[in-house]
Symmetry: C3
Subunit: 352 residues, 3 copies
């Protein structure tokens, strides 16, 4: 069951706290949950932010709907409503409050079944879950929260108020800034992929760098962020990474980038600020991408990008039979180009 | 070493239990293992299901071979054999029995080094491994098995007889149906990737939905299934997901779909029933795929698919030198099209 | 902070141990760390291996720089230097020593909060971290090191001196050779993806094979290596796998292959020796790749490769607007080919 507030909140309190105008509805009525329009019941707040959800609104049973004045007419006459210019932003603010207010009381403190090295430094108000292992010399700054089974290697630092979900691994000598969030399963500080070929064999190059992560960074579940070979791997302030992302050694990502799921970044790539990388996209190693570049999903970047803008590189989807024909022709494109050139020559048209 | 039955089974018992005819062989002879034809010894059951493995059959030393009447002649004269119309289905049934019969006796019960909240509800016959953490209000239904180090967040429910391999994470308020299986490392209920841009920065939208997984669902290792933003992320009954799959927030997958490894599904995509998604394929967000769609490996779906059938979209593999030429031409395809048009115009052929 | 030697090493000792000539510098001077040229201070060793880093060298403050005779002039006059023919190889050797010499003293032994089955066999000098679970009949050979929270299933074997990072899972009956290294989060021996379709539904085929991994194998973070269906999944000696790699059931990889991050290999693929697979590349099932094949990043291999060499298959990256045009034309390539043919026919040129 989705969460509810332990103490319901009245519509008057909502407007008092988050603004807007209670246009229809009893100020003393209360809600205790949030829900999408079609699922919302009399105890739920919902919101209508786009005209395309008008149909959902027309039948809603929500306890109160946040809506813009222009869309308010889409609601049934008696449905309580809060008028707000940007209902989605209003909802986001309410939801941030709701998430905390509806959470079960955290135990806080250091669980007796956590293992904390004698010389680890724990700030005030940290929460260390059961099964956590914190090695020697690690710093867990004030207000940080480590879920069950988190591993913090020797000498690593977790910034103030940063939360690590259960079963996150941070290897030795890495640093995560403050107000961050790392989701379950993610590994930070694993060895970079560094080998030198000697005859048939691969000899390991020790990976002596670190991972340095800025403030307000969110990293999704199941990511792998490798430590640098000798320099450090760096992720700038405010970056947001989705799930299952690979960041190789020595990569540097500028502030406020957003990377969608399953992105892979090869070693020593440097990415500017405010870049947006679509899901499944690959970025080859030892190249640079300037600020403000957007790359669409499932593309491969093999050269530096020096001009801000949008880039794409995925094969279009087709019916499989047509794809088979197209694939054959793609393989023979050089032949087709030569044939077009020959035709042009016969015509005396050598624009080519 | 591969597993063996603690008590061998006779050929007569096999036929009694699983059917078929013991055409050659001593009914009292016993086997204790299963193996592929080339590796099988006198204590192993093997099977021959395709003519292309005839050569392997001709030299087998298996204790008994399950074979169709039409392929039986491929076996050496003296080799014991069970005749069955569909040897692979016969093997599958035997293997399901064998897997359970050869497993070491499970300890069962709740390991003393598991941490179970006082108000968690545990059904009859559940197994909770060492290092598990089960938070307040969670339900573990009858016969469910949690491997070592599994985390079950507050209020989540694990259905009857469902098995979670070691080190699975299920965040709060999620639900997995009955008779399911989730492999090691997988994370269910991590936050969806939801941010609103405010100037240079990204502001987090709380992810208040859940993950709801149906019955008889199998999820591979290292997957990440995000909770919904406000609606729920849903995976239908009977779905099978391979390893390293990303399912973003609000995705809905219909019953009995099969998703191969490394698939990524972006937010709010809706997938019908009985779809088969090839390995590494990406599905963009906010689109719909109808029932009975097959998508080949390494494709990217960017628009809704409304017609059942097979779809593909990967670049063909080439010798790297030829690929370099083809890639240059792909970049200039618009130019080639224009040149063909010009030629046609000169001819007065404007079919284009 | 990056690691330092607890006891600094003098330049004389470095040359004595690793060779080269101390051309400039006090033999009694000491260093305690390593760093890249721009970051190195008077207590750090750095190296200059390529002319393109000449600029970094010209301002370095390193305590000593390893450099080839030909590049030595790029350093400021007074900077201590060790002349060596191959500075990168020299650095690699020094770094291997440094990594061990700078590590905090490992506790060694079996942590009291590890859970080890009574009949598990532990070799001399093994290290078993807190929260590890080692099931019945497992073998941990001499000198092996298991980080915190590692799971070793019943009957599995970890070879001598092999190191498993925290939170690695090895399911039952698998084998990892000696001198190996597996990074955090990786799962070895999860079930292969084996189902038979029965009407609408998928019936599970038990996965009874194992995973067999050779000696000197390194596997990155967050990989998933599935056990075989009936045969075994095999990874040969000396292979190096990066992060987030999927290896499906029955795959066989020959010795000394290198696989970059996010590679996916489907079931029963057979890969030769010394192959190099670029990041994000997919390999379809039931095919063979011969020895000494290199496949570039983000390609999909759908047929067997029988000739050593380099192969590629990714769509080139373009400006998004140009990509939109190109994608439309790719979808209609068959049409363009037909038009070229028609033009050729009119000319009487039927080279096609």
């Amino acid at each position: 069951m989705a969460r509810r507030l332990p103490v319901p909140i009245s519509l008057a309190e909502i407007v008092g706290r988050f603004g807007g105008t209670l246009d229809v509805g009893d100020p003393a009525a209360t809600i205790s949950g949030v829900a999408p329009l079609p699922a919302a019941g009399p105890l739920d707040l919902a919101f209508l932010a786009h005209a395309r959800f008008r149909d959902q609104a027309s039948a809603t049973r929500a306890g109160v709907v946040v809506v813009s004045p222009v869309l308010a007419a889409a609601l049934p006459a008696g449905v309580p409503r809060i008028l707000a210019d940007n209902p989605y932003a209003y909802y986001a603010g309410f939801a941030r409050w709701f998430e905390i207010a509806s959470a079960p009381p955290g135990g806080g403190g250091i669980h007796p079944q956590a293992i904390v090295a004698a010389d680890a430094v724990l700030g005030e108000g940290v929460t260390i879950g059961p099964g956590c292992v914190i090695e020697e010399g690690a710093h867990i700054d004030a207000g940080a929260t480590l879920g069950a089974g988190v591993f913090i290697g020797a000498g690593s630092q977790i910034g103030a108020n940063t939360r690590l979900a259960p079963r996150v691994t941070v290897m030795h000598d890495c640093r995560i800034g403050r107000d961050g969030l790392v989701h379950s399963g993610t590994v930070i500080g694993s060895d970079g992929f560094g080998f030198a070929r000697e005859g048939e064999r691969w000899t390991k190059i020790p990976q002596l760098g670190r991972v340095l992560i800025g403030d307000q960074v969110e990293i999704g579940a199941q990511c792998a962020i490798d430590r640098g070979a000798l320099e450090d791997t760096e992720i700038g302030d405010g970056c947001k990474l989705d799930n299952l992302i690979q960041v190789a050694h020595n990569v540097r990502i500028g502030a406020n980038c957003a990377l969608a799921g399953c992105v892979g970044i090869a070693g020593s790539a440097v990415i500017g600020r405010r870049c947006m990388i679509g899901g499944g996209t690959g970025i080859a190693g030892h190249l640079e991408i300037c600020d403000d570049v957007t790359i669409f999903a499932y593309s491969l970047v093999t050269r530096s990008i020096r001009v801000p803008g949008s880039y794409s590189g995925s094969f279009p989807l087709m019916d499989s039979k047509e794809w088979e024909k197209a694939a054959v022709i793609v393989r023979r494109l050089a032949d087709m180009r030569d044939r077009v050139r020959r035709l042009e020559k016969r015509f005396g048209d050598d624009a080519s």
